[in-house]
Amino acid sequence: MTTAAIEIKGVTKSFRRRERGPGTSWWRRDWKDKVALHELDLTVDAGGVTGILGPNGSGKSTVIRILATLLTPDAGSAKVFGWNVVTEAREVRRHVNRVSVEASFFKELSPWENMIYAARLYGGGMSGTREQVVAILERLGLPLDAMDEPMKQLSRGQQQKVAIARSFLTAPSLLLMDEPTTGLDPRSKKEVQAMLEILRAEREVTVLLCTHDMDEAAALCDRVLMMDGGRVLADGTPAELCRRHGGATLEDVFMHLTGKTLEAQDQEAAEEVEA
């Protein structure tokens, strides 16, 4: 029997925050728990692209961050290729990389300087790394004259391509992509999606893709989980979900399950944050 790429059993996560209740004194704040995940069970086999669809605050980024060993679950267990994310974190880290919605870099340093830093953290060195970086960036369509310019001078789309290149550089077995195309212009978005198509076809890496772009999920994912309020509402291939819930698109399925559009849910989540 092959080991699952991801195996999550009964994982819960809440965040404690001190908040001032309405009408209470300015110095008085009470602890409040905000549940991000309600007892999640999930198994993902190796290979292919699995999408997590949901509005802001649905818990999809929490799943990604737990698998990336950046968050500790309150209860349950999460394993990556059989290694526990809490007790065997270093083994997990050898096999995982992540692309987040913000392309997090040392903005004053160049793509090359950021890349060699990343390579060194994963055991690489100068030898051969530059050629490898050039090959990946060419494949992603980044102009090579940008390699030695400060990251802050690159466009948002270019920065995201460097972020994807950084994750490829470490040859992960599990790639966690947290809204990698959010905020990109249509052309950059298409280029990133084309890269994901290639990954999907090659199936050498398991991709967990968080997105709230329904069309992107339908086009790229072999399997889709719909999440809302920290719970999985539906799980299946895009075609299965449409058939099961009687919708022509994943947007219809989401509306059927929640009674709201994804945009409306995002708006609600934003208002909750503001409140």
Binding site: T72, R90, G123, R166
Partner: protein, 279 residues
Amino acid sequence: MNVKVQAQRGELNALFGFAERSMHSVRRYWVWEVVWLFYSMVSVLSIGFLASGLGTLGGNGSFDLHRTQLYLLIGSLLWGYLSLVFMEAAFAIAWERWEGTIEYTFMAPIRRVTHLMGICLFAIGYGLVRTFVVLLAAIAMFKLDFSHADIGAAVAVLAASTLPLIGLAIFTSVLPMVSPQKGEQMSFAVQGFLLLVSGVYYPLTVLPIPLQLAGYASPLTYALDGMRRSLLNGASLADVLPAVAILLAMGAVMIPAAVWVFSWAERRAKRLGLLKRSG
């Protein structure tokens, strides 16, 4: 290749990676580095002139200007070096938090001690280079005479003080982990207290007893004492051995304790979800 050897090479590679990243940053911000060097130089030189000024304040008592100047300048130079290392260590973590890269660093399959040592390695090397440049300026300005000094003993004290300094620097770097917004500024409060109790510009004996006791717990006190005795009185290595031994012992306790505290702060941040840039 043996798996263990390969793992150790990987850790060494990462250690160098942290130092290399900071060197790239210094190169990119070189204009600001020149400004900071100027500031360090001005701070140390003003202390030298303070000694000159004290000599002109009157009184018929004997005043050894050269000795006073050297006493204060040793304090100022060593303090400049130590505060620079603290600042670099705290700034490295705060910088990573600000840029959002700390999550990527924490996701890397390396030991935390490698990460922290890499930060300190750069901070110490950078601090030494900058302090040496300022020292050259002070020698040229005040015609400092080290003919009676035992430079070897002073270097031994400086080398031994590196260990507790690494411990203190790691402790300082915990602050931006605990509080993303105010942690870096808190490191200045720690520095200020060390400046007060460690006898940087005056002997510990002028302090009230509670502050003297705090001074005895500060490694900086022993580093300054050893350096002053070797540079002012020409104390030999054998004479400063007690100070060297205390510094090494403090380092042996402080480094593991600081790494443990940092790991605690990391676990706390992961439990509470504090690693995100927004904090």
